[in-house]
Symmetry: C3
Subunit: 291 residues, 3 copies
């Protein structure tokens, strides 16, 4: 065999590995998909060794690892373990991507959508649900662009923690924690914002329409709730760059096409080399190339 | 990629998904098989969502679901759950097939074989082991054809229950429960029958030769026991339209080739559209097209 | 479909089936790989039946079984169970291979390497770690060649047990148990040996350099430890026919390329017919054909 087939090793922290991630892998052209469910860090070493000790150096880029599952923290622990067992000093590495709960591709797609309508290097933004896995990633990507980012949470201390983590990763990051626990918090959090992205838990309306209407600076509103109601009242799941009273709106389905293209492009990127580590920032860089 | 590869998602209620169903899927031309074991209704929703939310409407017919495993009731519960999470109002459906324990394809193959030698619209028949998963399905298919169907069971009450279920599904079904607990029940149950199909548990002889010989009307005898002894004494596992003293006989292996062709044809049918639900009656319709 | 795709059914006794064995299977050209983890003998029957009852006799050689996992004894039990459910009297068989923990391919590769530098039909040899799964297999292959084989173990009684098993399998086998518990045992065990192969547990130095230097007859030293230190002091993991003071040395990595080629050739051999049973001796025969 001249060219070895491509292999994606799916390490999923749920008992049954995500069929969503499997379909996307196949549609991205993966030839052999090895799907593992119930993966814990303790199980990772032999699985990684099976990747790096089986093919010659020139073929290691034809094998890659995808970490997924519904629990983002569990996925991060598995990713850390995967990296621990690669042996870069001997060139014994394979590319690896993290997208537990779709958090990285969703965050990248949301910020990518926002960047089509606002100059993210200067725009002031608010991230609602900013302490969840998607919200944290959205805030981090926005902060890296350079604008001022407010991170909203019901518990301000948790938002402070996210701010600290972002400042540690991105020196000079311009982030601010805001409480959004009561209805009176809304106008203050929204003040001066050009962009709001909501990434809260399903079922919670984070930004009522009447509060949103008090903000004269708002230009872009992106909601990532996959089921009604949307976190930003008045945005529809299907909105895709929809102009509503001067505000460009996106709903989860409107962002979904971009998210899917990013996911597939990231899978493709895994096989371009044998040492890619695709976490949120790398996936966002890929997102910037996606049409 | 112009045409997306075909994907079959195998939801198996046993811990290790059936290798039989996997081989048949591959031989039916499925390109990617996602096999899940230990599937319970609680696990179904995300697996179905992964099917319907990943490909565009024009490609949904390239993804399908197969429900299997040794426990037919468990499979029925999984099928019901699959249907619950399809969203036909938005066209977000994939085709699904149930064949736990091979019950649907076996029943369809048996009735298909019978129909080659008897006019099922008028023939009187007896189904032995008529309350088991295969027997119930055989009885239902025969009843739908229109002939008079006796459903035999050691416990007549259980046979009554099956009759009631068939009448509820097929108004006007001409079914009758008969006890076959003692040797004296045999001649009475068999009286006036042109066709007998045995679908009982392995190891039990349901119809001794000497009782069968008392029946002058019998023309077709089909036995579905995969291991000796056959439920109908005198029929051999390998019989395939074998004439034994004027009675056309089939054994499990003789029906097996037809069963396999039906199974493969049903898998193929799954990918012809995105909204097929292949349970016993739909699979029998497919069986009627199989050579 | 004219030619059915090749299917390898991987029965792995670990919870998550080996990614190593999966990659090798794919690289050996297997088209569909059905991977099962957590396989016990109790689960084997339906999996084997699914192999032998689905394809016609002419296609059974396109389906094969691979038994693996980290526990060699568990793999042997699964292999025995697989053989029990094949039905050779009806031609209903598929080929099967055992390579739990890589023991068979590793032993075959080590003896193959030794045979490049010594006449194994007459050479006197010593197997250190001779009671472990790899060591036992190495000793057996050497004994079959005909030379005198010393089997070393810390507990001489265990080595005696291995000798008895080899004599039972190979009448006239010229094997001898030796204790290698204390440092004074070394020179005696090594006396008159042309070849030493170390297959002990990781981390234990079985043959210190100063003891080795006392042996004037030694020509070939092969160490199978995958991580430092090597069991034979002075041999490097990467040694591949490396001449060190007149002794030809191999380390685990030096043997690894041959092991991989043997593994792939054995997988290929599975699909050449439908009745191969590839345990250590059959795999060694394949090894002799590998370049």
């Amino acid at each position: 065999m001249d060219t070895k087939p491509t292999i994606l090793v799916q390490l999923d922290t749920d008992a049954l590995p995500s069929s969503f991630d499997r379909v996307v892998a196949v549609d991205a052209g993966v030839q052999h998909l090895f799907s593992y469910g119930g993966v814990t860090p303790a199980a990772v070493m032999p699985l990684v060794h099976g990747c790096i000790f089986t093919r010659g150096p020139q073929d290691l880029k034809r094998t890659a690892v995808f970490v997924g599952g519904s629990d983002v923290a569990a996925g991060e622990a598995v990713l850390a373990e995967v990296k621990k067992h690669l042996i870069p000093s001997y060139g014994l590495t394979v590319s690896v991507m993290l997208d537990s709960n779709g958090a990285n591709t969703t965050a990248a797609a949301a910020v990518r959508a926002a960047g089509r309508h606002a100059n993210l290097n200067v725009a002031n933004s608010l991230v609602l649900g900013g302490t969840g896995p998607v919200g944290q990633r959205v805030a981090r990507l926005l902060a890296k662009h350079g604008g001022h980012v407010r991170i909203g949470s019901r518990q301000k201390e948790r938002a402070e923690g996210v701010c600290a983590a972002i400042r540690a990763a991105i020196p000079g990051a311009n982030v601010e924690a805001v409480a959004v626990a009561s209805s009176s918090d809304g106008p203050k959090a929204l003040e001066g914002r050009e962009l709001v992205i909501a990434a809260g838990a399903p079922g919670a309306v984070l930004l009522p329409k009447k509060i949103r209407d008090t903000c004269r600076t708002l230009r872009v509103a992106i909601d990532l709730n996959g089921v009604p109601p949307t976190g930003i009242e008045g945005v529809d799941l299907g909105d895709k760059a929809k102009d509503r009273d001067g505000v460009i709106c996106y709903g989860a389905l409107g962002v979904g096409g971009t998210k899917m293209r990013i996911h597939k492009a990231a899978i493709t990127e895994l096989f371009a080399r044998n040492n890619a580590v695709l976490d949120v920032e790398e996936i966002y860089q890929i997102a910037l190339q996606v049409q």
